[in-house]
Symmetry: D2
């Protein structure tokens, strides 16, 4: 977390020598609260005390290169063939990003050819027979009205050299990788392989994660659409639980390492009584354990609603031998145990033993959340992110991700984006809001026993 | 815009002497990327060059007091009677804020009595017979499922002394004013009158504006819900225009001085061909004038969609004698001329003269936007804003507004909030995005002739 | 209304000689509660007393030919070129019908060529330069996700002979006309012209009306989507009115001659206090007049919500000289006076004179209703209607409309469909429900003074 | 199915002697296409051939008593205490029915006291401590904005005598039972026990089933809202499947005995490739078996979407020993085996063996469908159904259900409503539409091998 200016510098393919088509328009602009001029940078820190800790003059403070159009660009648009690929799990807004990239490349820069690779990184390899799609403004005009990705996706890594060959074969000199952890990692390796061969190909990342676990990012695209849809399921389960005597509602939401969706969705409806996230451990047994709390809720108001992130309570599963040690999924992530199932069973057993007759409503709506259409906000956000990605690529940045930081679009070196995860801070404002909203803030034990 | 630290300091009623019920929980926290500790402050500026301009040590840089709970508070919760009032036009999220205030006051601080004033500031005066509502957690539990405000609202100022009497009469020592320009202005006057009388009543503002024209605010609450709904009308009109030969779709949106709704709603659907906002003047006549552009669109793609903020083109109306000089509405704002009507008429006349047979679809959906329910994001935002407002009041801040700045909740002196308006910067990123999305960026004339 | 069997017979182009591709599947079916076999018919009447009035044996009772596939068909699918045209104002479900027609023609009957005419009947004439669209399953796959019609539309009649020429020129032998009054009238004339020339071209109508004013039809397609959207505007205006002191909410809805949308939308939210429709005259003045009632509502509950169909109260406008005598619109309909405007003005004047300070919220959301996407029910309905239309055409029916009657799809001769309008019966169940829901049923004067 | 007039007669508590408050309004009405007069009846049959089969004069044809207000009523409203109970699983519209009952009882009939029983039939027994709710117009005003039932519900039968005691204890003389099979059965038993004791208590049923499996009912309330929501999940899974190489989407929907939701939801989006319902048996193996069909879809278009009703393929589960013989759930229904799980496993195994690498997306969204808010259409329907139920009760009908038949509200004797189930007719129009829409109609084997 003690980043220095150098850690935050992005790679350039080379000097920008071409006039941008936007050059004239940009000539007169300078840094303002609404615009970050070329060459200026956006601060990493935003409080007086964090700034004071550095003890540095402003120009040496940790900061990000601002995104946006440059007067001089690296590539001659007439010579550009762009490629686009979407990787990993679905997330609202993928089609919006694709659409934004295609429109910006063609309308503003007059790029003539854009290739969409099918089925994620698999489409970038020779081994797979998967074809490509020619992407034109007409083809992408209405794609934002549907969720998912018109390019398809897949999980898992592919050989970097093989992917470089594939790019060369198709004459791609600008590649946009829209993907998560796995995708950004692959893109970093790909960019390294390109650099090792001395090739003139820019690789720009548009980081995607439905879990909002990206560092150096205000909020990942699609997150708002996702938690809004998640909130609908909390309402559904809450209505079911409230209508059943001794009703127990459990909603398992996405969040392998970070409980953002669980927190925001719970705040949005304010119908959850208990929120369980990976960042805050909890006990099942004991007076302040989950089971006792659930029982108290059922006895006092007749039902209880629990929102649980999929990554919560993995230690409890491990203790009970319910985790496959070392197992990983197609993306290379450790396989999670089924915390929802564990809750359902232990709560049912506990309440039955306590003389109640619980009716449990359990739902895992993951696919119905991932596939949702981007809402108006995310549509705007994806469009602007796509614009920034195109400007970055045309200006010759590479191994660079475009993100939004403190409401500014900035360039972040790709390795930083995968260096660690953004998590809910148990001491931070968001978790405090969750505790306030679920009525647990004033209690001596914040939510559940710290173990 | 060259604010100094002193300008950003908020008023306190006095020393905080009571232990907060949240005190234990807060003890160990310190400033982090997710939490701003008591006493720390949030920077006003966020770029290297803006910081450098000040040439000051960090502790003297312009910055805001962080919002949030304090270990010591000013009021003894057992002695608090809170009042809530909503003023001005409707905006999504009003009920969410009311609900959040009531829940936080009762659940976290154990405040026993909360009074809701009916019909805006009118309800705070003796002259009006309007009654009050007792607000309890049970009363407000489901109110966020509907738009509007359960308290009612009204426009126009009221006598400050009379309002102070009304507060005294009802024993209110903490008043929350949810309102816009007019409301914040009234709250400032009210706080001044309270101070003049040496009374111990805190006045906290939760600034509201559907136009997003508040300064020192990332985005005003309800704005996302509003522009999402506005975007639906752009779609509607776009479908109507596209289905008519020589179809003209015109959507007039809110935005007296600031075109944010017009910009964001246009970006969200990307169906607008022309966006007109108060900040960017335009000509009707001439080769680059609006009429010629409209005609070009109709001739090339068969129809055109225009989004116009209500405050755009007022100079054109004035020139044509279509503005009532000096007329003001109930809130004291200058009455706007009907730019939508002017466009409808001049475009119809121009195209008819040009041999086309335009079908014009014009809609002004203002009421259907203002009354919409807050979406999931705004619900969360309103809830957290309400929490921050309660913390501020309990800690004895007064004449203070709670807002979000650079994704941090902060305290801003009320006079600053009404000192000027946030506007779309014609040189800024947002307008650039609009130009990019409507395909006007690369043109020599940005959108329409600068006059 | 005393229809005889002969009035209900549809025209055939000739004997059905070809085996249908669906022949084998149909072989074993006979009339049941879920299927009407070939040759069987659906009764016009549904009560004992209406049946008794005829005093006829069942086979002579007024009844409709059942729609659906036939074992023998008239056209050889390999020789068919189909045409599709959409006419008149927008209505939810137009794209669903187009999509259903194209899918059924190609998938079930293996028709190779389908031509979509642009811009309504204009596209069927030589005079207009409007082109046509080749319609394929791929082209129409996702069109139901958007409102409007991909073919465009227009109002107004065209020369029948010219349209016949146009069909011949393009080799069309099956034409589907999706349209309202005007469209069905034009299709009837077109079919007559075809018959007069002895041509072998089937003309099948899919009647469309957002007002639900078609006779012999359970409910017109798109109606449910339309009134659902209309109900949203009633909610909006109701929220606005309730939040203003002396608030008056007025929503003007579609309904030239029939108040169905006004009635259903009012029932759906149950937020309307007064519903005004063309079928039930009302007075403004007098103790039971509208103005007095409005005043009573405002005085008792603080606000009032009025839903008015555009065709209501035309007599009041005429009395005041506010109707252009004899004026007609592009579709040939008499131009309506602005009843919404009259209400706004007279109510404001009346209440102001009565010492109140009304805030009026008036909205006419017509375009935002017409352009809405079909809801799930209407999507299913449109799809099944399209299937029925294709079966009718392939079996050689012509001058025939396909509609749903008593939940059965049937064939109705086109002239019958335009013979009169379906209206809200002031003595019927629907209006009784409206009176019950608005609390007027038990009053001596049903809703408003019968004049 | 060969019902006679007598089978369709409903029970009366006795002669109607009181003037209805609606009497004056009703005086002049007679049977019309929009109103069924008192004493008139609605025909059961609707085709010429079905009518001819009876060979009876109209007055002896099978027909239902029309619902609606009567001039003379049985109960003196001033003496009425009404009870309302909701039983069984959730269904959209329950709150709308409750609200409609309360409003009609109070506004039209001036009934002073209405008791809501909590937690279904359990609330009607002494054994359970569950309390009751006083229902007033104010209490129910906004309840239709949320799904579920404010009264709570439960499954399972209760002792009829005990329930009669409970009604007597509370002075109830009119009871409305909103429930499914189980609820109607219990209500029938309850009415029999009331009759046996010679008590003057009317029991009126408002039949509820999310599966639309009620006989003599056009469509059960909430069904449209339910299948619309179900269709959203088909879209979601379809988007997920399409974005995965060899993607398999499976949606399990409600439908123990009847596949209506599966059929309508599939038609609504037209995204399903295969629809499996209880009424149409299918084989897994063989050339026309499900597995081979799934493989063909995956190989030709890359993915497949399967919609399966929960009651489909139970014979396949039984064969494999995957059904608990004789097991029943709380409502006394035979426990269903998990057809979704069987499909997931056998399809995965089959495709893997065939050299494909399937990604399976399986979802069972039952709770998120049952808890949805009623859409506009269902809101209107529920309101009118509630009005009809109140009229029936006030006129002294008992053991009577109110339903809609051929778009008329009618009275059906309760035993008939539970005599059998409405099912999708494999020879009927609906299933034909499904086959047409999934492209299976023209095949020699309708959908899957008839076994």
């Amino acid at each position: 977390m003690t980043l220095h200016l150098d850690d935050l510098r992005v790679r350039h393919l080379g000097e920008c020598r071409h006039d941008s088509p936007l050059s004239a328009m940009l000539a007169a602009k300078r840094t303002s609260p609404h615009y970050v001029a070329e060459g200026d940078r956006v601060l990493l820190e935003d409080t007086v005390s964090m700034l004071a800790e550095h003890g540095l003059p402003p120009e040496d403070l940790p900061s990000f290169e601002a995104a946006g159009p440059r007067r001089k660009i690296y590539f001659d648009p007439a010579q550009v063939t762009a490629g686009i690929v979407t990787c990993g799990g679905l997330c609202p807004g993928l089609n919006d990003v694709i659409r934004g990239l295609v429109q910006e490349l063609t309308v503003q820069y007059d790029v003539k050819r854009i290739v969409g690779f099918r089925n994620g990184l698999r489409g970038l390899t020779a081994r797979h027979r998967d074809d490509t799609i020619e992407l034109t403004p007409d083809r992408v005009r209405d794609i934002h009205n549907a969720g998912g990705t018109i390019l398809g996706s897949s999980r898992g890594a592919q050989d970097a050299e093989e992917m470089v060959d594939s790019l060369l074969l198709r004459g791609i000199n600008v590649l946009f990788v829209i993907g998560g952890d796995g995708g950004m990692n692959a893109a970093t390796n790909l960019a390294a392989a390109i650099r090792a061969r001395g090739l003139d190909i820019a690789v720009i990342g548009v980081p995607k994660t439905i879990d909002n676990d990206l560092p150096y990012t205000d909020q990942s695209f699609g997150f708002q659409s996702a938690f809004a849809q998640a909130a609908n399921f909390i309402s559904s389960v809450s209505i079911e639980a409230a209508a059943s005597p001794d009703g127990i509602g459990i909603v398992k939401l996405m969040g392998r390492h970070s409980g953002f969706i669980a927190c925001y969705a719970s705040l949005a409806r304010n119908a959850a009584d208990i929120v369980l996230i990976p960042e805050v451990p909890f006990a099942l047994e004991g007076e302040d354990g989950l089971l006792a709390r659930v029982e108290r809720h059922v006895r006092s108001k007749g039902f209880v609603v629990i929102v649980v992130a999929e990554g919560a309570g993995q230690d409890l599963l491990a203790e009970r031998g319910l985790l496959e040690g070392g197992a990983t999924d197609a993306s290379g992530n450790a396989k999670l145990g089924d915390i929802g199932g564990l809750l359902r069973e232990t709560i049912t057993a506990h309440l039955t033993a306590a003389g109640l007759a619980p009716t449990v409503r359990y739902i895992d709506p993951s696919y119905a959340i991932r596939s949702v259409t981007a809402n108006a906000y995310d549509s705007v956000y994806c469009l602007r992110l796509a614009h920034a990605a195109v400007h970055a690529a045309m200006a010759g940045r590479t191994e660079t991700a475009v993100v939004r930081w403190r409401r500014r679009f900035v360039h972040v070196p790709m390795p930083l984006i995968i260096s660690h995860r953004n998590q809910v801070d148990p001491d931070g404002d968001l978790w405090m809001s969750v505790l306030e909203a679920t009525g647990h803030l004033g209690q001596q034990q914040p939510l559940l026993v710290e173990r």
